[in-house]
Amino acid sequence: MSVSLQAEPIDIAAEYAALVGKASGAAVTTFTGYVRDHTGEDAVGALELEHYPEMALTVLQDLGRQAVERFGLINWRIVHRFGLLPVSETIVWVGAVADHRGEAISACEFMMDTLKTDAPFWKREQGPEGARWVASRAQDGERRARWERSEGI
């Protein structure tokens, strides 16, 4: 039940082992986000991730607590990177452990959807035309809003 904000690549095998290790859950869901080599038709060479460290930690720890309350998780972990990330590197890793698959899957999705709009990170894409800040997407807000409306699973 913890958060890591780090510049280093995410060691997914180690994270998974630590997540499941002491937990007695029977269902585990994880999500991994990677740097794409394109956005629409534009090539992307690398991603710069700026963050607001103190607030990011507070928001993500609170998000984990909300996921426990809402889905009865046995364990969770959120790892988010910052700094310069080349294409195909990991950006984010979220894991959820629960008694049953429904809770684990929903909790993982809830944490990712909320993280996208609520955690203070900003992406800047580097491409052949130079660098540009990534704009927030309406569909991210819509996915986030679904969790406000629904009562969970």
């Binding site: 986000g33 991730l49 700026e50 963050h51 607001y52 103190e54 607030m55 990011a56 507070t58 928001v59 988010h80 950006i91 984010v92 990712m112 993280l115 996208k116 709009t117 609520d118 955690a119 203070p120 990170f121 900003w122 992406k123 800047r124 800040w133 990534v134 704009a135 927030s136």
Partner: protein, 92 residues
């Protein structure tokens, strides 16, 4: 009153500052609510720094976080608080 202002992403880049102390000195009584000033009034102070500030600070969808929590324009800011301003978040 001294407030820490933090700017991030495109806002930081446009204004060329990441963090500074905003010293508000003696404030007119009508600006104060319970000895505090609201976020909207602080944005007005920052906007008065010039056109580039006014444009950046008043852009639509700007997010305000007071002591690491997202707040509305009517949130009250007190001496020693940290107010961050930034565009919508795009992590994950």
């Amino acid at each position: 009153m001294s407030i820490t202002i933090k700017l991030f992403a495109s806002l930081r880049e446009a204004l060329g500052e990441a963090q500074f102390q905003l010293e508000l000195g003696a404030l007119p009584a009508e600006e104060l609510v319970d000895g505090a000033i609201n976020v909207e009034a602080i944005k007005a102070v920052l906007s008065a720094r010039g056109t580039n500030w006014s444009d950046a600070i008043n852009q639509p969808n700007l997010v305000h976080a007071l002591n690491h929590k997202v707040v509305y324009l009517d949130a009250l800011v007190r001496d020693g608080d940290e107010l961050a301003l930034f565009p919508p978040m795009t992590g994950g």
